[in-house]
């Protein structure tokens, strides 16, 4: 997968392809007082978080710190118990997932959510085609415009795969890929929606050192393409090289929010991580 030496320019060109008018505009995201309880358990408490346009922001924290809950709240998979989420200047808290995604937010999943029985290419195609109308009649009767649109989408999806270095696996079953490539495929699927904000849920988990390096390059390229990135990670070392800003969660509350260097020196952060066995 390390042949995925892509440039930000290539990704930018590609992302702009479907949205020539808009292009991927840098997105900003902000949460205020964001909270979520499950029964009596607080998974996330009163979180204020700001993601500046065009940056890579990382949220780190030990297991169970509330990172995945945060993503589920941002993407509308879960409703917040309290608090506000502003994305591109719009309030999105409580909106259904597809509506949030349609604004330009895409995500990957910590526990991969690939589609069984679909090829790598089809998986990316779904990402590309997700936001067009349902069009059942067109699908049943396949008039020529529909056929042309599908061919175009397939070609675009192939290019997308090339960007993450999966072009040669296009016709394999998605779930037959090695784990690291499955993670890349999820990123490709998310990028295929031409997002303004990309959310990566523990993208480095389970990857080898080489795969991590390639992933880091890819994230750098995505930033260079102008896509704002928010990633949650368990592994501190991985994000320190990548992130412009790092927020630290522990037991659902933010305990630090600063530059990577400053966060690394923060005694509260060190305590939180040392408290864990790692």
């Amino acid at each position: 997968m390390s042949d995925a030496t892509v440039t930000g320019e290539a990704i930018r060109r590609h992302l702009a392809g479907g949205h020539a008018a808009r292009g991927p505009q840098p997105a900003d995201l902000e949460t205020r007082g964001l909270s979520r309880h499950f029964g009596g358990v607080a998974a996330l408490t009163d979180l204020d978080l700001a993601v500046a346009p065009g940056t890579v922001t990382a949220v780190i924290g030990p297991n169970g710190a509330g990172k995945t809950t945060l993503f589920n709240l941002l993407t509308g998979v879960l409703r917040p118990s309290a608090g506000a989420i502003r994305f591109l200047g719009r309030e999105v808290a409580g909106k259904p997932p597809h509506a949030v995604a349609a604004l330009g937010m895409a995500r990957t999943f910590q526990n991969l959510q690939l589609f069984p029985q679909m090829t790598v290419l089809e998986t990316v195609q779904v990402g590309r085609e997700a936001r067009r109308g349902a069009g059942f009649l067109g699908a049943l009767f396949r008039p020529p415009p529909v056929v042309r649109a599908e061919r175009a989408a397939r070609e675009a999806a192939r290019e997308q795969l090339a960007l993450v270095g999966l072009a040669d696996r296009a016709d394999d079953l998605a779930t037959s890929l090695p784990f690291g490539q499955q993670r890349l495929l999820e990123i490709a699927r998310a990028l295929a929606t031409e997002p303004a904000l990309l959310l990566l849920d523990e993208p480095a988990a389970g990857l080898s050192a080489g795969e991590r390096a390639a992933l880091a390059r890819l994230v750098g390229d995505i930033r260079a393409a102008g896509v704002t990135t928010l990633l949650v990670e368990h592994d501190m070392a991985f994000v320190m090289r990548l992130a412009d800003r790092v927020a630290v969660l522990n037991f659902g509350a933010k305990i630090a929010d600063d530059s990577p260097a400053a966060v690394q020196r923060d005694p509260a952060v060190i305590a939180a991580y040392l408290g864990e066995e790692e």
Binding site: V77, L78, N111, Q113
Partner: protein, 290 residues
């Protein structure tokens, strides 16, 4: 019309008690195994037809009833072992379809054994009496008494025996139960045995009120299932309440226009299902880890 109200309530509660018994069986099975057992009604049919058959051999009623319930319990356990255990990794929907297959096969077996003839059974006690303007058959007292006895016995079993506690543990959290030394596989078999037994009891006590036939189970099973859904599907007390409520609503609906009696139950089913529209998006979502 109001003059008929006591009668509706009395006959509704009688039928409702039957639904409640069947619903209790549903709940036992669903809570422990997450299987919607659409063969539950066939256990009712087996209870009724077996009891009648033994009675015809000259057995005393009580012995015939006990033997019928015992045999049905064995069938229930066999269904779990032979049909559901081999597919325990399958999805919930596959399991439903399997129970439909079981239901059809049991009905077909009953057809081979008993044919299409309706079989009568003499009431345990004959006669009727007047209660606040309603005519109540003595058999209805047997039905009500059976429901009470079964509910109390089930409650005692679940709360005061090791096996019962094991069942409850599995219903709450199979993984934790396993760690505590409970064996979920055995509990699943036990839950089917119990569920079948409760249904068979319902079959025995309802047989005198209705002719027993090979296809009597289907409708009764569905009604019991609706009662269980009204009661929340995992709550035994709710199942009893749901059964009684459904019985009364049906009696009232059927009293107004008897032809639509069956539709009443399913309209209620749809209303209940829609009223309980299951929580936030992710709650039943496909993916784990959310």
């Amino acid at each position: 019309m109001l003059a008929q109200a006591p009668q509706w309530i009395a006959s509704g509660l009688t039928l409702g008690a039957i639904y409640a018994l069947i619903a209790l069986g549903f709940v036992m099975i669903y809570a422990v195994t997450d299987v919607i057992n659409l063969a539950q009604g066939e256990f009712v049919m087996l209870g009724a037809l077996l009891a009648i058959t033994f009675k015809r051999q000259g057995w005393p009623m009580l012995a015939a009833a006990l033997a019928a319930v015992a045999l049905t319990v064995a069938v229930g356990a066999a269904v779990q072992l032979l049909a559901l255990r081999p597919a325990r990794q399958a999805s919930v929907l596959t399991l439903i379809i399997i129970t439909i297959g079981v239901s059809i096969a049991l009905r077909g077996a009953a057809l081979l054994l008993w044919g299409t003839d309706p079989y009568p059974l003499a009431p345990f006690s004959v006669g009727a009496f007047d209660l606040g303007g309603a005519v109540v058959k003595r058999q209805s007292l047997w039905i009500a008494g059976t429901l009470i006895a079964a509910a109390v016995a089930l409650w005692a079993f679940l709360n005061h025996t090791m096996l019962g506690k094991g069942l409850r543990a599995c219903a709450i959290n199979p993984l934790a139960a396993r760690l505590m030394g409970v064996r979920p596989g055995r509990m699943a078999t036990l839950s089917f045995a119990l569920g079948a037994g409760l249904a068979a009891v319902a079959g025995v006590v309802i047989a005198p009120d209705t002719y027993a036939t090979y296809d009597m189970g289907f409708g009764l099973g569905l009604k019991g299932f609706i009662a269980a859904i009204i009661g929340g599907l995992t709550n035994p007390a709710g199942a009893v309440a749901g059964g009684l409520l459904l019985g009364v609503l049906e009696a009232v609906g059927g009293g107004i226009k008897s032809a639509y009696k069956d539709a009443v139950a399913f309209v209620i089913l749809l209303l209940v299902l829609l009223a309980r529209r299951f929580g936030p998006f992710a709650a039943g979502g496909a993916g784990g880890g959310l």
